[in-house]
């Protein structure tokens, strides 16, 4: 990646973190479900931009941890661990680069993040007798729906703008490349 791309990525990650920690808490309710950072990190894996995905999660998660009004539940750590798992899954399980694979990875990432959050809340309760506040499981359904919409939008945009996910058929060889 070029230097300018890294700068843009850093700015976008900071903006994403600020959006998820400040705007989300005060905006009208439908915005509550729109949490673009994690799906975008997963999409960066699909685009083979692994370091970019980790940097985005690090910056956005850090901003959320620092600016959160309540105990945020160590977002930076959760997201990096989730991305490590997604990294392995994208290489060993969902090896193709289809829209369904992207959706499956995003769903796995979100669910794993929620499970880690719940675990942290329990650990916090047993250690310092103060549970970390956690989103309801019901809200996870709405968040997952929006995640899939974001994934579809990003996937389709990338397909239109680049040839990354396009499967071409070589007319001479008459087979997929």
């Amino acid at each position: 990646m070029r230097k300018s791309s890294w700068v843009l990525l850093g700015a976008a990650a900071l903006a994403g973190g600020i959006y998820e920690t400040t705007f989300l808490g005060s905006a009208p309710f439908p915005f509550y479900y729109i949490r673009p950072v994690l799906p975008l990190c997963v999409m960066l894996f699909m685009l083979n931009r692994r370091p970019a995905a980790y940097v985005t999660a690090f910056l956005a998660g850090g901003v959320i941890d620092l600016l959160s009004a309540t105990a945020s539940g160590w977002v930076i750590g959760r997201w990096l661990i989730v991305l490590l798992v997604v990294d392995v899954l994208s290489e060993r399980v969902t090896t193709n680069r289809s829209l369904y694979a992207a959706m499956a990875l995003v769903v796995m990432a979100r669910v794993l993040d929620r499970v880690l959050w719940q675990l942290l809340s329990w650990v916090s309760f047993y250690i310092i007798r103060q549970p970390i506040p956690v989103d309801s499981w019901r809200s996870l359904v709405g968040i997952l729906m929006v995640d899939m919409l974001i994934t579809t939008l990003v996937f389709v945009s990338v397909t239109f703008l680049t040839k990354r996910f396009v499967i071409s058929v070589n007319p001479r060889k008459e087979r997929y490349e």
Binding site: I18, L24, G25, S26, F31, L67, A69, I81, L84
Partner: protein
């Protein structure tokens, strides 16, 4: 070692290092600096979100508006009587206070703070403001809006930011009295969803709808007579040891953007 294993080791190592540096407090100056730099952007984004919320807030139906207007008229009648009585008392008090030089010894001053962020979890009413220990803020200080409407307490404080737990949060508790009486009558507890309830009110206490509840002044850093809310409905059987009452909070907690923290003058930084 594969590239993936190296990445995993690097990420886990970085997380461990961050954790240790955070726990030992070595990262605190960097964290405070980042918070200070991002606070104005956070405040702007929160303000934008609040404006959007207000724009999209649900309009009441004509029937609800009529009911609301009827309630307000009842309250106005009750408040008008109090107002006349209080006006007379205020004039008397002004003369007495001037005589005693009391106004020079108020004991508190207000530190204005902007809301940087709110809790993303709907059940919680917690906000972060852009003032901290550098401005003389401490845990437990009272936070007000406008002309002395109590909205919450400071529950955690960093160098340049502080967390305010609003009255409607389920963790919030504040000791209250009836306006005009310096006697503690119970606690106002947050019930989530921007509502609160007065609890532990002894049966012998008389409490009626539209009574004004104020802070009792029994908590160290919360001065007395800050308006907490109006009594809406009193509940409880005569056989119960305590009764409770639904409270109408007077400040629009979901839209607060600027708050004032009451700081004892002795803590004012030089």
């Amino acid at each position: 070692m594969t590239l993936r294993s190296r990445t995993a080791l690097m990420v886990l190592g970085a997380l461990m290092a961050l954790g240790i540096l955070h726990i030992t407090g070595l990262l605190l100056p960097v964290e405070n600096l980042i918070r200070m730099v991002l606070a104005p952007i956070g405040s702007g984004m929160t303000s934008a979100g609040t404006n959007l919320s207000q724009r999209f807030s649900r309009d009441l139906t004509a029937e609800q508006c009529r009911d609301h207007a009827a309630d307000l008229e009842t309250q106005l009648a009750s408040v008008s009587v109090d107002y006349v009585r209080l006006k007379a008392l205020e004039e008397e008090n002004e003369v007495l206070s001037k005589t005693l030089g009391y106004l020079q010894k108020q004991g508190y001053d207000a530190v204005m703070g902007r809301v940087i962020s709110r809790s993303g979890i709907p059940e919680q009413s917690v906000v972060m403001i852009d003032r901290g220990t550098k401005d003389g803020l401490e845990n437990g200080m009272a936070v007000i809006m406008g002309d002395g409407i109590f909205v919450g307490k400071i529950t955690s404080v960093q160098e340049r930011t502080a967390t305010v737990t609003l009255l409607s949060d389920e963790q919030s508790r504040v000791a209250v009295s009836k306006a005009g009486q310096r006697k503690l009558i119970g606690l106002v507890e947050g019930k989530g969803n921007w509502t609160a309830e007065a609890t532990l009110i002894p049966q012998q206490e008389t409490l009626e709808p539209n009574d004004v509840l104020v802070t009792s002044g029994t908590e160290g850093k919360i001065p007395p007579n800050l308006v907490v809310g109006l009594v809406n409905k009193v509940e409880g059987q005569p056989t119960d040891p305590f009764k409770k009452a639904a409270i109408e909070l007077l400040a629009p907690m979901e839209y607060v953007e600027v708050l004032a923290v009451l700081r004892p003058q002795a803590l004012r930084p030089n």
